[in-house]
């Protein structure tokens, strides 16, 4: 019942100063709208990039190395003792993940997990007396299609042809252009140890990533083992799991299980993810500043109303309205501006998103038209609305409190 009074008085006073109310409401609305647009673009591009990071590469890569150098046995045997050991040298060992078949089998048994043993290394691809350095990845095409997007990125030929062709390779569009090397052409692949093999191009992919497109070569793991002269050796176990967010814990688990350094996608892209934190801080500070400016508009109008309405406040108090009731009236005004601003802001946000989504542009080197990736999440709208309400009620708080401190006697005496 009381709220009805507060709201009706609040609404009447706002409507009385219609133009100022509209201006400050628009201020809030624009703040909310731009918040939604900016936040959608930022969050959209972040999600897009994370998606690429997550989808284009395995979630976890186990490498044939250890995070820390192995300790001498004496340090393990006597952890608390003070030992000085001189003239030691690290033990030489054959690089590679030992018993990778068993590791892959054990991992593959877990639900939602795809594990693939791979052998990577360097080689030179030679064609028509031109040389290009290449990263070799010896893989299992059957599993690779789930681990990375290479199959989706195929432009000519196919990844699966690796299985049927003898000595097949899949190269990137960049390398194909540089060497003039097309599908079904025979290239010469030279390994660092001097082994030379003639291999047939069975597919060409294009990811948009220059480094991959010019330098990555896929082949069957057994061909890579022969080429690199590492029979029965794999130096990577590439893993995809059900929930990418679990990758860090999963990596830690398998690292402690087998000892090999296992990097999650988060660890590999730590710098990227750190950049997002900085970028988000900047974005939200700027958008927050818009809201602060908007809330000054609200502060302004409600302060003006309070100044103007001191007589009305005094008479309401003499009638029996409590200080709290008066405060509520002006807080309601703030809330009304906030709510209307929020709703209008949502509309502005939707229009802005529609406009942003319709923008098309071409990035040099990419054939397809690009769109801005937007995150049209409920979250942006909810957060924008929350900011609008919070800033509106926050801005109304001080003048509302001032209003509640009016002493009716002073006003009535002054008026008489």
């Amino acid at each position: 019942m009381f709220w009805q009074v507060a709201i009706s008085i609040a609404a009447a006073q706002l409507l009385h100063r219609r133009r100022q109310t509209i201006v400050s409401t628009l201020g809030v609305a624009l703040g909310v709208g731009f918040f939604i647009a900016t936040s959608s673009v930022m969050s959209g591009s972040e999600n897009d990039l994370v998606q690429r990071l997550v989808n284009n590469a395995p979630h976890i890569t186990m490498k044939d190395e250890f995070r820390t150098a192995a300790k001498q046995p004496i340090f393990l045997a006597m952890p608390d003792a003070t030992v000085k050991l001189t003239n030691t040298k690290p033990r030489e060992y054959l690089r590679g993940i030992k018993n990778y078949g068993a590791i892959v089998d054990e991992l593959s048994q877990q639900k939602g997990v795809i594990a693939e043993a791979a052998l990577t290394g360097q080689a030179i691809v030679r064609y028509a007396s031109k040389d290009v350095g290449a990263s070799i990845a010896g893989i299992d095409p059957e599993k690779e299609r789930y681990l990375t997007t290479v199959e989706r990125d195929m432009r000519e030929g196919s990844l699966m042809r690796l299985k049927t062709a003898s000595q097949g390779i899949v190269i990137g569009r960049g390398m194909s252009v540089r060497l003039g090397l097309g599908v079904d052409d025979l290239a010469t692949v030279v390994s660092p140890t001097g082994l030379v093999r003639r291999m047939k191009v069975v597919g060409i992919f294009s990811t948009g990533n220059l480094l991959l497109d010019e330098g990555q070569v896929y082949m069957l793991i057994k061909d890579a083992q022969v080429l690199l002269d590492k029979p029965f050796i794999a130096n990577r176990v590439r893993i995809k799991i059900g929930d990418p967010d679990q990758a860090e814990e999963f990596a830690a688990r398998i690292e402690s299980r087998w000892g090999y350094r296992s990097e999650s996608w988060q660890e590999m892209n730590r710098d990227f993810l750190g950049l997002f934190v900085i970028r988000n801080t900047i974005t939200y500070s700027i958008v927050g500043a818009i809201m602060v400016v908007a809330s000054f508009g609200i502060f302004n109008i409600i302060s003006t109303i309070v100044m103007e309405k001191r007589r009305d406040i005094a008479i309401l108090m003499s009638m029996g309205f409590r200080a709290y009731d008066i405060q509520a009236i002006f807080l309601v005004q703030g809330a009304v501006v906030g709510i209307v601003g929020m709703l209008l802001g949502w509309c502005i946000g939707l229009v802005l998103l529609q406009m942003l989504a319709s923008i098309e542009f071409t990035i040099p080197g990419m054939s397809e038209k690009q769109h801005i990736v937007l995150d049209r999440g409920f979250f942006q709208f909810a957060l924008g609305g929350f900011f609008s309400l919070a800033s509106a009620v926050g801005a109304a708080w001080y003048p509302a409190r001032k209003a509640s401190q009016v002493r009716p006697v002073d006003i009535i005496r002054g008026a008489a």
Binding site: D325, P408, I412, A416
Partner: protein, 231 residues
């Protein structure tokens, strides 16, 4: 109506403004007003008439002494409790009408009822119209206050003061801004409230004619009761 105790009573009430030089508004006031009395408060300007009215109306709090409303000591009550008592038991009429310009006449009259919140919207509307009818301005109910004449506005203010059916009407120079004809009308309304409805009206005035029409006159000089005459 009366159950032994007076409706409003001041016992040794003083009000001193604590400023660089303390200002005494009223000093050692002892008065008691019963149900159904029609009282005028007169005195030269600066004699503390209005200050006394605000103290009796619980708008201001005495520096010393106590104000009893309906037998209840109001000393030490907090602002909310005083507001609640004003809401139920006291109606104010000031020299200026103080109507809210954004609301129609009848909506203005309904404001105290809304705050009290005891009636439905329809009941409040009905009572608002009834009050306006009694004051002979029912035809103005839907107008805004600024479309009314001074006399009509003051009658709306009286209707608003009566909204929650208070026993006590406190008026501060209610005819101060009115021409003689409207002054007379307002005066008659107050007399009617006392005679026919048994309310208590205490009005501060500087008009001898108004004072003569009342049953009792309290004359203040320099913040003290100089004369208290019943007719």
């Amino acid at each position: 109506m009366s159950d032994g105790h007076p409706l409003i009573e001041a016992r040794g009430v003083s009000r001193i403004l604590q400023e660089t030089v303390p200002v005494t508004l009223v000093r050692d006031i002892d008065i008691s007003v019963g149900h159904g009395e029609f009282v005028s408060v007169t005195g030269p300007s600066g004699s503390g008439k209005s200050s006394l009215l605000y103290l009796l109306g619980l708008l201001d709090v005495p520096t010393s002494g106590s104000v009893f409303l309906d037998g209840q000591d109001t000393t030490g009550l907090d602002a909310d409790a005083l507001a609640a008592m004003r809401l139920r038991k006291i109606g104010f009429v000031f020299q200026f009408h103080f109507l809210l310009p954004e609301f129609s006449v009848v909506q203005n009259v309904m404001l105290p009822m809304r705050r009290l919140g005891r009636q439905s919207e329809a009941e409040m509307m009905e009572r608002g119209h009834k009050l306006l009818e009694e004051l002979d301005i029912a035809d103005q109910a839907k107008k805004r206050p600024d479309q009314l004449s001074g006399g009509q506005r003051q009658r709306v203010a009286i209707a608003r003061a009566l909204a929650n059916d208070p026993a006590l009407i406190l008026a501060d120079e209610p005819t101060g801004n009115l021409d003689s004809k409207n002054s007379e009308i307002v005066q008659e309304i107050f007399a009617k409230l006392v005679r026919e409805e048994g309310r208590t009206v205490l009005a501060v005035t500087h008009e001898p004619g108004f004072a003569e029409a009342t049953d009792r006159n309290i004359h203040l000089v320099d913040g003290r009761v100089d004369r208290d005459t019943k007719r």
